[in-house]
């Protein structure tokens, strides 16, 4: 119950913040906000011991019960890690933001968004029900959208926001489809229930589709290739947001999803290929791209992409354990997952710190451009220290936590190389090499951060503001994170035992009993291949860093120059232009075209299906006789009708129309329909009078200027339409299947007291039709009045006539 509440608390706070904000202008509103994450952090932290002991907590509120959508919260090891990250980093970021954002900004809005995000993110990690998870999932996208465009008057902010929204929401929709497929297979929206029963459904054809769709969601959110392009542009958000959402938490929602679904999909090879393949590729691509950035924040964005790729690939590798099934041998593969979880935590610490540092630089100097920076070490010693710790941890150097997880990463890769799926075609080696190269570049850009920003010469004229060390307040949060970076290096097993182990159990429920599920983390484990790889990284990385100017040119070579962003932008432009082109192609605004569409559709659909189904069996045996005079009348009508097409004067056409109308009246007489004959005659006359009334004001017909081709085309359509109507009519007459209900009405005198059957139908049996028909007539009458009398006066303000 309280866990459920913890999701709602941020939302409640988000409602109250604007109210408080309106009252208290003097104090920084952030001080009120920060209470929320701290309280939640403490609250969640209080569960660490019991979770570590293997307990889980579940609570359900009924929502859409009939469909199986319940508001179920589920706290286990995996969600706890994320919960702590969300609230912990959240507290620090808010603390940081209090100093970072001036009170002139619309802070109320800012914190509302932030709280919204926090609640949503907690919802994602704590929800057991797929649909509820999806609710919060999209909410994180939305709050991210709002935060990226916090300074919405900037074009770039809007662009970044739009991009992230489009990509992540699209992924979300795909994921939703995947979820629904899962539910269709298993009959449940509950992750726990699906995990429990998934074994029966892995052979369903939908299973793989569901997996891929869910992965699409995860990849878009976690900025995996090729969806990573939104993340660098998301850096338009205020730095606290970047630190929080776009590095520590939201982008890890995809990771969370992969972890959460590992027990469901992990048994499939496709999963392994997809997750680790995309992960490694993203890792490599991100690190390569990071090196070439000149904006520190962009550099960090690519670094984040790269690191997320790393974690992703580890989760993929870890799934091997599930494919192998539980055995003492297969447990070794779970190490990758362990490493992934560990790096996840580590990344949050060092990357959070780095973002804050860059934020400080930006805040103090007004620029983040490496080319304009240098020599800050002397002026900003504390900042420098934090940057150093963060960067070296990222580079995988001791004595920082990054070293530990990086080593485990290499080990996992080395383990995986022996896998059956990999050995056959040396993909394993390829992956290993790729990962190693990526690590080299990671080293390079980490060095760039430290050395190009803090070493060398400082040029005041290149920056916007006079240089000063940041305020103490702004340094508190990054300092805490930097401390953690070191503390974790020295006490990794605290994290391992209390946080990672329960999470491992959550991911590998079948391996729960395995002793080696959570290895003992050691900083020193001899000169094993992993260490050699690290040494290699350092050596090659140093060389590359030193001689960067000599090889930077490779970024102009084709595959590296290719830019998905341009492709994305071009795609959108192409989409808009293409849409415009396509739509204009058929939406021409000419009535004639639209009518042609309708008739062509009619001819094809109805005519075609008559031909196709062979519904053209006629039966003329029931036809009544034709008298000569009747034939003459019909002939005259045909003549009058055809003449209407060719006559040159509209008045003649009206007269011919009148002839048609009167002739029909005559036919009604022949067909024994006195009431119809009467009505038809009068209506025809009144219609003709109306035509004449309006003609006074209308111009005489001009000659149709359409060409011969058009005329022939129109003619073909007209004739085809006529034929279809006739053929269908004849077919129906030959196939009357039932006696009409109208025999009943012949009893009209007894039933309704009228001898005129038609009139009785109109006035009694179907009086409702008549009533409405009168209403129709009435509307037309009043409508004509309105149409003519109501004339807008503000004609010049007609915007559409521009």
């Amino acid at each position: 119950m309280t866990i459920t509440l913890s999701i709602f608390i941020p939302f409640l706070a988000a409602i109250f913040i604007p109210l408080i904000y309106q009252r208290i202008k003097s104090r920084h509103i952030g001080w009120f906000v920060i209470i929320v994450p701290i309280a939640l952090f403490v609250f969640l932290a209080s569960y660490i011991p019991s979770i570590a002991n293997g307990s889980t907590y579940i609570h359900t509120i009924r929502w859409v019960e009939s469909v199986g959508i319940h508001f179920t919260t589920y706290l286990d090891g995996l969600s706890l890690i994320f919960g702590l990250l969300i609230t912990g980093v959240g507290s620090l970021v808010i603390l940081y933001s209090i100093y970072y954002l001036s009170e002139r900004e619309s802070l109320g809005r800012f914190y509302v968004y932030l709280l919204l995000f926090m609640g949503a993110m907690l919802g994602v990690v704590l929800s057991d029900n797929l649909m509820v998870l999806y609710v919060f999932w999209e909410l994180t996208s939305i709050s991210s959208f709002l935060l990226i465009a916090f300074w919405y008057h900037r074009k770039k902010s809007r662009y970044g926001a739009q991009k992230s929204m489009l990509i992540t929401v699209s992924g979300g929709i795909a994921m939703l489809a995947g979820f629904i497929m899962l539910q269709s297979m298993t009959g449940s929206f509950s992750v726990r229930e699906i995990v429990a029963t998934i074994g029966q459904y892995t052979d369903e054809p939908l299973f793989i589709f569901a997996m891929l769709l869910v992965l699409l969601g995860a990849f878009t959110k976690s900025a995996q290739f090729p969806f990573h392009i939104w993340l660098p542009d998301a850096m338009e958000a205020p730095t606290p947001v970047s630190a929080y959402l776009h590095s520590a938490t939201m982008v890890k929602a995809g990771i969370y999803l992969v972890a959460r679904f590992t027990p469901i999909f992990g048994g499939e090879t496709v999963w392994l290929y997809a997750v680790s393949g995309v992960g490694v590729f993203t890792l490599l691509l991100g690190s390569l791209n990071a090196v070439k950035q000149t904006d520190l924040k962009a550099l960090l964005a690519y670094s984040t992409i790269s690191q997320l790729g790393l974690v992703m690939s580890l989760f993929g590798l870890g799934s091997v354990a599930l494919q192998q099934g539980y055995s003492t041998d297969s447990v070794i593969y779970t190490q990758a997952t362990f490493a992934a979880l560990f790096h996840l935590v580590n990344h949050s610490t060092f990357k959070g710190a780095l973002f804050m540092v860059i934020g400080i630089v930006d805040h103090e100097l007004g620029t983040r451009d490496i080319r304009r920076l240098g020599g800050l070490m002397a002026f900003m010693p504390v900042t420098f220290t934090i940057a150093l710790i963060g960067s070296f941890s990222m580079a995988g150097l001791p004595p920082f936590n990054g070293f530990l997880s990086k080593e485990m990463f290499f080990e996992a890769l080395l383990n995986a190389r022996n896998l059956e799926v990999f050995t056959t075609n040396s993909i394993g080696t390829l992956v290993l090499v790729a990962a190693w190269i990526a690590s080299v570049f990671t080293f390079v850009y980490s060095m760039i951060i430290v050395f190009q920003t803090f070493f060398g010469e400082f040029h005041q004229e290149r920056v916007e503001k006079p240089i000063n060390e940041a305020s103490k307040g702004m340094l508190i949060a990054p300092s805490i994170l930097a401390t953690l970076v070191i503390v974790i290096f020295f006490f990794p097993n605290v994290v391992g035992n209390y946080l990672l182990r329960p999470a491992m159990i959550a991911i590998y429920p079948t391996f729960a009993g395995a002793e080696r599920l959570t290895p003992h983390i050691k900083a020193w484990h001899g000169f094993n291949p992993a260490l050699w790889m690290t040494i290699g990284v350092v050596v090659l990385g140093t060389i590359l860093y030193r001689f960067m100017r000599y090889w930077r040119g490779i970024y102009t070579i084709a595959p590296l120059k290719w830019n998905l962003d341009t492709a994305f932008n071009a795609g959108l432009t192409w989409l808009e232009n293409g849409s415009h082109f396509l739509t204009r192609l058929y939406m021409k605004g000419y009535l004639k075209d639209y009518l042609v569409y309708i008739f062509v559709f009619f001819i094809i659909a109805v005519g075609g299906s008559i031909l196709f189904t062979g519904s053209y069996s006629f039966d003329f045996s029931d036809d009544s006789s034709i008298a000569i005079n009747e034939f003459l009348i019909v002939l005259a009508m045909a003549g009058a009708g055809l003449a209407m097409i060719f006559v040159k004067s509209r008045m003649t056409a009206i007269i011919l129309n009148g002839v048609l109308g009167y002739s029909i009246a005559l036919l009604f007489v022949v067909f024994r329909a006195p009431d119809l004959a009467l009505t038809q005659t009068i209506v025809e006359t009144v219609t003709t009078a109306l035509f004449l009334l309006c003609f006074y004001f209308l111009p005489e017909w001009k000659k149709e200027r359409s060409g011969k081709k058009t005329k022939i085309f129109n003619g073909i359509i007209a004739i085809s339409a006529g034929i279809v109507v006739t053929v269908l009519g004849l077919a129906v007459q030959g196939n009357k299947m039932f006696e009409s209900i109208s025999v009943y009405f012949e009893d009209s005198y007894r039933l309704a007291g009228g001898k005129n059957i038609v009139n009785t139908i109109l006035g009694d049996f179907r009086a409702f039709d008549t009533m409405l028909e009168v209403v129709v007539l009435f509307i037309a009458g009043i409508g004509v009045f309105t149409l003519i009398k109501l004339k807008s006066k503000k004609e010049e303000q007609d915007i559409e006539d521009q």
Partner: protein, 113 residues
């Protein structure tokens, strides 16, 4: 008779469609008028047979009566199509007064951005 009338209906439909596809507003309206003539005739042929029985008036004591229901339906339809034609005609008139043209090619409206 039914066949003859049905063929006539087809012919009227052809005429009407051809008129509807014209670029002159009045032709279009005339087309819609002819179209409704065709529909009414068609509806007539869909009863339980033309000329089979006498007019549906009980006073005249006939052996059988023609199908009265289509007649009632046509009556309603005639009135409705009258209402619509009247409105359409006035609309054409108003449009001409406002725009100075009855050429539908000149009356594209929104799509002529």
């Amino acid at each position: 008779m039914e066949t003859l009338i049905t063929v006539l209906v087809g012919l009227l439909v052809t005429v009407a469609v051809y008129l509807l596809l014209s670029r002159n507003l009045i032709r279009v309206i005339l087309g819609s008028a002819v179209l409704s003539h065709a529909a009414h005739l068609l509806l007539m042929t869909m009863g339980s047979g033309l000329k089979k029985g006498s007019a549906p008036l009980l006073g005249e004591n006939a052996a059988s009566y023609v199908d009265a229901l289509p007649q009632a339906l046509i009556l309603t339809a005639i009135v409705i199509s009258f209402a619509v034609t009247a409105f359409l005609l006035v609309l054409a008139y108003r449009t001409y007064k406002k725009t100075g043209t009855d050429d539908l090619y000149a009356l594209r409206g929104f799509d002529d951005e």
